[in-house]
Amino acid sequence: MTDADPARVVADADVLAADLLVGGAARDALDHVRRHSWVDLVASDHLLDDAEVVIAGVADPDLAADWRGRIDDERVAVDHPAGDHPALASAYRGGAAHLLTFDEGLGSTATNLTIQPRVNLSIRTPDAFAGLFDPASLYAAVEGGEYPGPDRDPRA
């Protein structure tokens, strides 16, 4: 088993939907991902399916489909069995070090995963992640050298 990659992030379906529909902490957190080409959003089809259904339910199916078209282009895709928790399984199978969720009990929830969880997965709420995200130290650890600043427009 390889170590988790500190530049790989998973957002659970509630955070993905809130990023689109609410803004606030969820958007602050995912803006950190969007504005850095070297930070990856990892998500399985199952995870995006959940978020798309939620968005279609609380907003509308057209918006959900357009969101899916966009997020499909940007995420790093991973696969896992349908019975696994989509966010946890995406994180473990995608080697992510960070999992963002509004479900603060997720880390202690008994889950029926088909792979052994890593101990170095950090499960945080979006506001905690957004507050702690330090691109300069992360860049030095992942890419090496001095942080050049954001390299993408998070609204593009």
């Binding site: 529909l21 959940d50 259904v53 339910g57 907003a59 509004f102 609204r155």
Partner: protein, 33 residues
Amino acid sequence: MTETWADLFERAEAYGTEVESIRERLREVRGDD
């Protein structure tokens, strides 16, 4: 053609969604109730 994030966020704003309604819907989708 995919939309920009700015366009998607602008369209989404019209729904006035709150985090709790998203969480409630996700619990329904996953059968966590």
